[in-house]
C-alpha cells in the first residue's frame, strides 16, 4: 500500500536474530520505496558500519544512538530499568517525544511491550496490552487475539480482545463488520471451559458482531474474522503452527526433493509471521512487533505495517471502539 503522507519510523536496529545488519538492510529497502523517514536506533558505530554497505544516497535515514539491547528471555520490566538507554527504550521514547510516529522492532516482544506500556500508557480499563493479528498463511485474514500476552484471562479481558481484534480487522484488513468468535471445543453455547462460558455472556451484549463459539477447524472455514482466545491457547497455536510449517516443509523436501514447488509453497505460507509483524493492541501509541527471524523484506514489511496503521488512525479507533464495547457490556472501562 502506498501511503499518502510521509511518516517517521523509529526502527530498533538492534532487535532481531541478525542485528543490526538485517534491520539496517530493511530500513534501506523501506526508505527506497519512499514516503518514510527511518530513524535507526542502535549502537552508532555498528549501525553506521552496516549502513556503509548500502547505497543510501538520497534516502531519508538517520542514526539515533542507544546503548545496549534487551534480549528475548530477559525479564522485560527489570531489563528496561537496568538498561534505560537500550535500543527499544530509546526508539519507543522517540515516539513519545513526538520525534517519530511509530516504533518498529523485531527484538524481544516482552521488551517492546513493556517499553510501549511505559512510554504510551494503556487504554483505559486494560491491565496489559494484547497481541493479535493474522498469523496463519492458510487463513491470512483471520485475526487471532491474544497470542501470548495475557494468560488466565478474565472474561472481561477476553471481551477486550474481541473489541481490539474487531477494530483491527475492520480498519486494517478492511472487513466491513468483522465476525467475532470465541475459540472453544464445541460450537453450541454452553460448550467450553468456564472462562469461555462466562465470556460468551459478555460477548452477547457487547454490540460486536458475535458469531458464538468457533472450533479449531473453523479457523480455516471462514466462520469468523476475529478469533478470541486466552493468550495461553493463542501462544500454543502460534508456536505450534510455526513448528508444523517447518516440519511440513522438511517432510515435503525429503519426500519430493528440495526443489519441489510444494516446498516453496509451504515455506511461503509458513513465513507469514516473518512478513512484517503487527501492531501492539491497547497502548496509546503505535508499536509494531515483528518476528526475530524476519529478513530485510520482513523489516521493510514491518515499516509498511506501521505506515498503514498510521494512515488508518488505528490506535485512536481501537481506543474509541474498545470504550464503546466496554460501556455497552456494562463494564467499567
Amino acid at each position: 500500500m502506498s501511503t499518502s503522507k510521509t511518516h517517521t519510523i523509529a526502527l530498533d536496529a538492534m532487535g532481531g536474530d541478525v542485528a543490526p545488519s538485517v534491520p539496517v538492510a530493511g530500513a534501506v529497502l523501506a526508505a527506497r520505496k519512499g514516503n518514510v523517514n527511518v530513524l535507526l536506533v542502535g549502537d552508532p558505530d555498528a549501525v553506521r558500519a552496516e549502513l556503509a554497505k548500502h547505497d543510501t544516497a538520497g534516502l531519508s535515514i538517520q542514526v539515533v544512538p542507544s546503548e545496549g539491547v534487551i534480549r528475548e528471555g530477559e525479564p522485560p520490566a527489570m531489563a528496561l530499568r537496568g538498561k534505560p538507554r537500550a535500543s527499544i527504550a530509546v526508539a519507543t521514547g522517540l515516539v513519545k517525544a513526538g520525534k517519530a510516529d511509530a516504533v518498529v522492532s523485531m527484538g524481544s516482544t516482552g521488551a517492546a511491550m513493556a517499553a510501549a506500556v511505559l512510554a504510551f500508557g494503556l487504554f483505559p480499563g486494560l491491565e496489559r496490552p494484547a497481541l493479535g493479528g493474522p498469523f496463519i498463511g492458510l487463513a491470512p485474514r483471520v485475526s487471532i487475539v491474544d497470542l501470548g500476552s495475557q494468560v488466565d484471562c478474565k472474561p472481561l479481558q477476553m471481551l477486550s480482545f474481541g473489541a481490539l481484534g474487531s477494530t483491527f480487522s475492520h480498519v486494517y484488513s478492511g472487513v466491513r463488520s468483522p465476525r467475532v468468535g470465541l475459540l472453544s471445543v464445541g460450537s453450541e453455547e454452553g460448550k467450553g471451559n468456564a472462562q469461555v462460558k462466562e465470556a460468551y455472556a459478555l460477548f452477547k451484549k457487547s454490540g460486536l458482531n458475535f458469531v458464538g463459539n468457533v472450533e479449531g477447524h473453523d479457523i480455516f472455514a471462514d466462520k469468523a474474522d476475529v478469533v478470541v482466545c486466552d493468550g495461553f491457547v493463542g501462544n500454543v497455536l502460534l508456536k505450534y503452527t510455526e513448528g508444523l510449517a517447518e516440519a511440513a516443509a522438511r517432510y515435503l523436501a525429503e519426500a519430493l526433493g528440495p526443489r519441489s514447488p510444494a516446498v516453496k509453497a509451504i515455506a511461503d505460507l509458513a513465513s507469514l509471521a516473518e512478513q512484517g509483524g503487527g501492531p501492539l493492541f491497547g497502548v496509546n501509541g503505535l508499536s509494531v512487533i515483528g518476528h526475530g527471524r524476519s529478513k530485510a523484506e520482513g523489516v521493510a514489511g514491518g515499516i509498511d505495517v506501521a505506515a498503514r496503521c498510521l494512515e488508518s488512525d488505528l490506535v485512536r479507533r481501537m481506543r474509541d471502539d474498545l470504550a464503546a464495547v466496554m460501556a455497552r457490556s456494562g463494564a467499567h472501562a
Copy 2:
C-alpha cells in the same frame, strides 16, 4: 502387527459417518487378516444386508443385534439412558459380560466414553476418562493427552494424563522411558498459566521422566514423547490440525494441480486420525475410539489397535502405573 492370540472384538457397526457399510467392510478386512473374531453389533437386517455384499466365507464374523444409535451431539449419558440397547451400549456390554475382549467404535466419542465408564468403571482416583495418543502425522510418536475429555483440569488430573500417556507411550509405542512434558508458553519452570505452574510441582515428584515445559513448536522437535495439556487446549489443537491439513491439501491442489504428489503426501499426513483411533485412557476395560470419517481401512486399523492393546495388557499396566505415580506424588488415588 500380527498378534499371537485370537481376540474377540465387539465392533459398533452403527458408528461413524457411513454406517453400517463402512464398519462392516472394515470388519471383513480385519477378519481376512485373521487372528480376530468380530462381533458386528447393530441393526441385524441392515448389517446382514451389508455383509451379503462381501465374500465372508471362512471369516469369523457374527452379528449381534442392537436397537438404535447414539449420534454425535446427543448428550451421551442421557442418550444411553434413553437407548439402553443402542449399538455402543450393547457392544460395550459384550466386553463387560466377557463375551468380547474389546469394543471398537467410530461413532460418538462421548457415547463410547459414557458407555465404557458405565460398563467398566474408572481407575481409582479418576473423575473421567482421558483421550490421548498421537494424532499429528508429522509427529507420529508424540502422544498428546488430553484431547478433549476434561477441561478446566486440576493439577492432579494433569498428572494422571502424564501417567496414562507415559504408560501408553511405553507399552504401545515402545518408547523405553517416555519423556513427559507439560505444554506451556515458555520452556522455563514458572512459565505458563496457573494450572501448568501448579502441575509442574506435582510432575517433579511423580517419578515420571518429566522434562519440564514444552512449547507448541517443540512437538515437532523431539523434545517429549508425551505432551500433557488441558483437554480444552488438546481439543483445539486436534481440530486445528485437522482443519489446517485439509486447507493445506486444498491449497497445494490449487497451486500445483490435484495430481501433484505433494497433495497426496499432505493428505496422507492429515489422515493419521482416520487410520485406526486409539484406546480410551482410564477405564477398566478396552474401548478403542476412532474417527467418524474413517474408511474401511481405518475401521480395520481400529480393530488392529485393539488387538495390540490386548496383547500388551495395556489396561492393567495403565492402572498399575497410574496408582504408583499418584502414590509417589502423595496424591490419594
